[in-house]
Symmetry: D4
Subunit: 214 residues, 8 copies
Amino acid sequence: RRCGFPEVVYGEGKTVEAIAAVFDEQHARGEPAMATRVSPEQAEALLPLLSGATYNQVARILRRESHPGRPRVGKVAVVSAGSSDLPIAEEARETLDWMGVAVTMVHDVGVAGPHRLPERLAEFEDADAVVVVAGMEGALPSVVGGYLACPVVGVPTSVGYGANFQGLSALLSMLNSCASNVTVVNIDAGFKGGYVAGLIATRAAAGTEGRRDA
Amino acid sequence: RRCGFPEVVYGEGKTVEAIAAVFDEQHARGEPAMATRVSPEQAEALLPLLSGATYNQVARILRRESHPGRPRVGKVAVVSAGSSDLPIAEEARETLDWMGVAVTMVHDVGVAGPHRLPERLAEFEDADAVVVVAGMEGALPSVVGGYLACPVVGVPTSVGYGANFQGLSALLSMLNSCASNVTVVNIDAGFKGGYVAGLIATRAAAGTEGRRDA
Amino acid sequence: RRCGFPEVVYGEGKTVEAIAAVFDEQHARGEPAMATRVSPEQAEALLPLLSGATYNQVARILRRESHPGRPRVGKVAVVSAGSSDLPIAEEARETLDWMGVAVTMVHDVGVAGPHRLPERLAEFEDADAVVVVAGMEGALPSVVGGYLACPVVGVPTSVGYGANFQGLSALLSMLNSCASNVTVVNIDAGFKGGYVAGLIATRAAAGTEGRRDA
Amino acid sequence: RRCGFPEVVYGEGKTVEAIAAVFDEQHARGEPAMATRVSPEQAEALLPLLSGATYNQVARILRRESHPGRPRVGKVAVVSAGSSDLPIAEEARETLDWMGVAVTMVHDVGVAGPHRLPERLAEFEDADAVVVVAGMEGALPSVVGGYLACPVVGVPTSVGYGANFQGLSALLSMLNSCASNVTVVNIDAGFKGGYVAGLIATRAAAGTEGRRDA
Amino acid sequence: RRCGFPEVVYGEGKTVEAIAAVFDEQHARGEPAMATRVSPEQAEALLPLLSGATYNQVARILRRESHPGRPRVGKVAVVSAGSSDLPIAEEARETLDWMGVAVTMVHDVGVAGPHRLPERLAEFEDADAVVVVAGMEGALPSVVGGYLACPVVGVPTSVGYGANFQGLSALLSMLNSCASNVTVVNIDAGFKGGYVAGLIATRAAAGTEGRRDA
Amino acid sequence: RRCGFPEVVYGEGKTVEAIAAVFDEQHARGEPAMATRVSPEQAEALLPLLSGATYNQVARILRRESHPGRPRVGKVAVVSAGSSDLPIAEEARETLDWMGVAVTMVHDVGVAGPHRLPERLAEFEDADAVVVVAGMEGALPSVVGGYLACPVVGVPTSVGYGANFQGLSALLSMLNSCASNVTVVNIDAGFKGGYVAGLIATRAAAGTEGRRDA
Amino acid sequence: RRCGFPEVVYGEGKTVEAIAAVFDEQHARGEPAMATRVSPEQAEALLPLLSGATYNQVARILRRESHPGRPRVGKVAVVSAGSSDLPIAEEARETLDWMGVAVTMVHDVGVAGPHRLPERLAEFEDADAVVVVAGMEGALPSVVGGYLACPVVGVPTSVGYGANFQGLSALLSMLNSCASNVTVVNIDAGFKGGYVAGLIATRAAAGTEGRRDA
Amino acid sequence: RRCGFPEVVYGEGKTVEAIAAVFDEQHARGEPAMATRVSPEQAEALLPLLSGATYNQVARILRRESHPGRPRVGKVAVVSAGSSDLPIAEEARETLDWMGVAVTMVHDVGVAGPHRLPERLAEFEDADAVVVVAGMEGALPSVVGGYLACPVVGVPTSVGYGANFQGLSALLSMLNSCASNVTVVNIDAGFKGGYVAGLIATRAAAGTEGRRDA
Ligand SMILES: Nc1ncnc2c1ncn2[C@@H]1O[C@H](COP(=O)(O)O)[C@@H](O)[C@H]1O
Ligand SMILES: Nc1ncnc2c1ncn2[C@@H]1O[C@H](COP(=O)(O)O)[C@@H](O)[C@H]1O
Ligand SMILES: Nc1ncnc2c1ncn2[C@@H]1O[C@H](COP(=O)(O)O)[C@@H](O)[C@H]1O
Ligand SMILES: Nc1ncnc2c1ncn2[C@@H]1O[C@H](COP(=O)(O)O)[C@@H](O)[C@H]1O
Ligand SMILES: [Mg+2]
Ligand SMILES: [Mg+2]
Ligand SMILES: [Mg+2]
Ligand SMILES: [Mg+2]
Ligand SMILES: [Mg+2]
Ligand SMILES: [Mg+2]
Ligand SMILES: [Mg+2]
Ligand SMILES: [Mg+2]
């Protein structure tokens, strides 16, 4: 279907055989394959089996391109608050790259250093959507949502301690954002944040009015 | 800014004077005005002051068009689970209408009557985005997200009792949706759900690639 | 007592001697024996001691039949949402098999793939009861409860991450199900889900009116 | 379908017209009608419109029989802990009566008076299923489940104060019951508790083996 | 004691007589008196009894100066996010004024309008302490704490709805602030926020080294 | 003071030296010594240093008597629900024994086997106080409190899984007990439960009226 | 039974007839009667019906003595933190008085005024048990438990606002008390706190050793 | 900026290279460097690289002075309740020492030993601010806040078990403190508690009036 993407494997606890089987089926259908939450041990066993596959250890993502080098469609920024949020930001970035979307990464611009974000706005103010990854107080999506008019997908992370309650603090912050353009996905759900932003960007890039009327 | 919309008034607890003042300023700038969470009492006092304004009592929204009759841009479906979810669905619909987006309403297709949704899919399978409004177990966004490839914005409602905990049940369900295309806004946040879907749809309708390259 | 079953051992943390003792007593009384939450280590030590016992490592259940090969009574379906829910579904299945109930397994029919469940309904629409095992948003019992009129026992699992809160999300979903025929047991309680469904099915198979009047 | 019952109206917040319309449709189809959570004010307006309808103010249920006087099928006991649990117990009883199931009521046998329950066991030990309604510590289903072998449906109530947290205490107790035959429905969900027990009893009374094999 | 202030009356639920008695005692000792959470009804009854007392209805504070017109000591800014946070901000301001501290008010500079705060920083960048009052996502203390080096006292408010959970969202945000200079008081605790900031400012204004060494 | 006992060491994470030092001081003062939450590793290192000390590995308690063989004073029963509650029951028993109180142990009489408790009541119906240790639904203190008139100290344990939430379920049950004579201590606080029951029993045994009037 | 007291009526929501009936039965048996949570409206209707009954409006307790003027047995102190805790403290006091126990009241000695409690210790250091009533941070039982060796029954109250969460804060504090002699009852459970302290005191006053050995 | 301090490294999960780089930059600028939550393994690798750096294993802090031996400014007391709170108290102390503030340590003065704190008050009653570190019931800040007039920064710790819920109990206690001079930081946030107290003390020591007027 229009703008549909093949199903992504959730690698956590899956056997090497199970993951390889899905990759092989999708390869046979000419589709790109991707698995998230893949451990280094799983990857080490899978890479020799799947020619052309690559593994990003920070993002814990294993991918195989169907059409390497195809042109990028749409533009998404992945903005993160602190350096501990990097793995989740990388998970979002890999997902978007797999979808064929152009990505701009903007790291370490959390609200406690309020000068840092405005200095970098020019890099992504024309994005079709922004993924904002933040733990602790989770305030960054509101600020990004205040600067830009496009949809912002907040990804709360479990980074923090104490009254953070494994990401609850950032999750509640983002759900209560006073910026109207902020939606939220699950705690540490970098894949989902990237995926929805990619859906928005590919639609924005393509335009639909013409086609629907045609 | 591109696809920006004027600020919307959160009417809860505001004085009639404060709301009228914002409407008048926006009118002077040729902008459409909108206030949410407006009580019938507030509306009764405001309508005589604001010529051309209309009030939807179910949605609790007061609006004034800037360019009545302008053509619709993009397409969003607002899908709701049960009849008690209607006020929140209406809040989303009014918001989208105010943004100039074409809206399809699909009511009372909750998961406990699983035949109802598929019968109505044809009405909105070409939507740019879908707003799904559901209380109690909040399962509907996952099902819609399973049928369609476009972005789905889940709006949990506080409809229910007991272990519903004022909407917590539906909120957690939607955050944990196993459909990759589902994002979530706050409990009872019909405005936000509609607003983000409207941002996605207006972008999808316009297309951005051309302009960015130009 | 009518339709009573011997007590089942909760194996977690029990010594090999304690478990073997119960199995031997029940054997002496001509009763079938079963222990749940038995680790592979416990099983390895117990199997040589208990002739005729079998161990299902996925379900973590150790059993010994009293009357192997007796005919099946009643019919229960065990329906599960995703592949990570399998161990809990297996725990339910083993329990039902131990009770002498016929079981139909239906795997991987979660709501995000809404075409999958209806394709398989014919396999179990005549069941006396259905056990539905689901994690993440826990929406499957509502959908099954919408398709079928018989009692549905929802078993929420702790499968998921982030705002899943170790199964709380699925638990609340099932408790708030808008399908009237859904009841719920504890998170990951595959044994209990299977047991109650088995009680319902054995009663349905036997009929009680005649006996009570007699 | 076999053992199916017509849909029940959830009356909370519905208009008199909406409720009357459903009752009239069901009447035209020869079906019994029932609405739960109907306020005295709603009932007062509805009774003159619906000939043959009756209202139970404690249970807040409005009903109309399709075949008054038909024989009872199956047997269910509704057991409650304290006198404040009565409205929920009545909601269960009315539901069962509407389903045509014979009901035995056993009130005020909570665990803090441990002599009371055993004295009354003889009244319902042959029941096909038992609905147990309890607030505060919610311990009664475990005790009933210990005495009897049949399925027990626990209905936690919001009766209590302080660390009761509107029924959370009783809900958690029942979910953690160490009796294997206890399942649970939502807090204050007397309708659901009665409905599921009624489904179990009607199946038990009818028997299924014969029919399935035929 | 050094920098000690007389005890403040918590007016909620107190009788007029009880409050008047404390004010009269403190008057007799030449101390300023203050009561918080005083309703308009209580104030109406108290004002005729207490000559020189004044009532601020927004802050719900009743006060009587001991030395009207004394010079201000120290400087505190009270910064608030949205207009609904005003009553709590006023409670903080009245408290500081009663302590004899100079106060700068900065309203409606919440993070979703990220340009507003920097425009107003010059008004309070020399403050000895800042009280930041914010509801919803409660992100403002982190931003203020990022711009300024002085102690910031965050006062979360219960402003919001849904997943705000009566202020829990803002409270957790502030506790998890990644700005090192942010501490937190109870939800809606404008008095406490102002009081602690006042203690800091009066100490900062006085200096302690000299005195301690002396 | 009357009925006072020397301070008990909370062993968790303490060094061997620190624990030995307290034992030696108390020995020098002729006092009995006790440490709770002592690991087998700590005990192994401590026993050679502390002549006359004994270690109970189930209870994780290390003790040294001051006057071995002194007569028992008062009577307390420690009643537990299931075999997994044993370590906490043992912690209570050791504490009482250290206080010089006579203890009766009654194990495995949980509510799901409701015949078991009454069969054993005669063993402890003359106790001065009863400690009731239970996990899962935590219903046992209410039942014991219903049978007996003396003070009952409920000790919720973290035994269970899923919606047990590490003992929250049993804790809430006990706090909401409808038996008037039940008080509660922290989850897994066998020491505290035993200690308070011991204080009650030693007072009951001694009598106070005479002394106070004297 | 020894030290047993007749059942106390929980008046909340009961009819005047129901309460009067219990009082009359107990009167006929020569027992003292008591009802808690009785509203002024209920009391006004009941007092003319029950000669010799008295009503304490602060405690919301209605009582009738069986043997007015009998001598007091044992000694309990009821200690409260702030003036808003008074109704719960009164509920405890009335309960103790009804049990025939001598009571000492010590009000307004909360921990934020740490000089106040020690000044009053002499009034109750010979008590058989102390009931400590406190809201907000609920710290007072720990301090009382630190000063005295006798059993302390903590009664958390719902006094407070914001992160007090209707008494949760005080409840958790008391459960986590580092004083070994502190047990806890439900939030606002003045009756239960008083009742258990009364059981302890009557046993302490009577002594049991003699009788048991006899 | 005035009274500003260089950014402190949060060491958790950072690479040795990343930490060393920051220390070197700050050294080059003549600034003191500090990293918190540094494991012994990280420290062992870093110490040889950073001449002049020291590591406090209890506090888990790595520091390098810029101007060793400079005079102390201001005075802060760090007061802790139990011996398990020591690591957090040490984290606060190291932070203050790094800021150049004079620190007084007062250990093991928890509320269950209420005589201990008053005996030691003279050591710190002239402090500019007090950091109070406490787990379990978290009552100590209220008591310290009752004795002293200066700002008190409460640091709840996760010390405890059961209904402590990893520090939630102490956190809520401190937020609900009835002492007006108590503010709160995150659970186990010794660094933040020390930092804010240091900011208060350096301002108190310097005085601001003169400078601002100048
Ligand atoms: N990291 C992730 N978080 C949430 N959902 C995921 C993730 N990775 C894959 N999925 C979804 O999980 C489903 C596949 O689950 P499975 O069949 O267990 O592999 C697909 O719907 C994916 O979109
Ligand atoms: N008290 C109740 N609690 C839960 N579900 C109910 C209740 N009463 C009716 N229902 C269910 O609610 C649905 C009807 O909802 P509605 O269309 O809003 O009237 C049906 O599925 C009923 O089985
Ligand atoms: N709004 C408030 N929030 C928290 N504490 C307050 C408030 N107003 C007064 N207080 C404190 O409450 C105490 C007085 O309580 P009370 O004796 O009940 O009037 C004093 O310690 C005050 O500092
Ligand atoms: N298992 C336990 N649970 C709760 N409190 C305990 C326990 N063991 C000892 N205590 C108390 O902890 C305090 C001693 O703590 P510490 O000084 O850290 O050894 C004393 O007040 C003891 O009564
Ligand atoms: Mg950073
Ligand atoms: Mg419906
Ligand atoms: Mg799947
Ligand atoms: Mg009763
Ligand atoms: Mg605003
Ligand atoms: Mg057992
Ligand atoms: Mg007071
Ligand atoms: Mg100690």
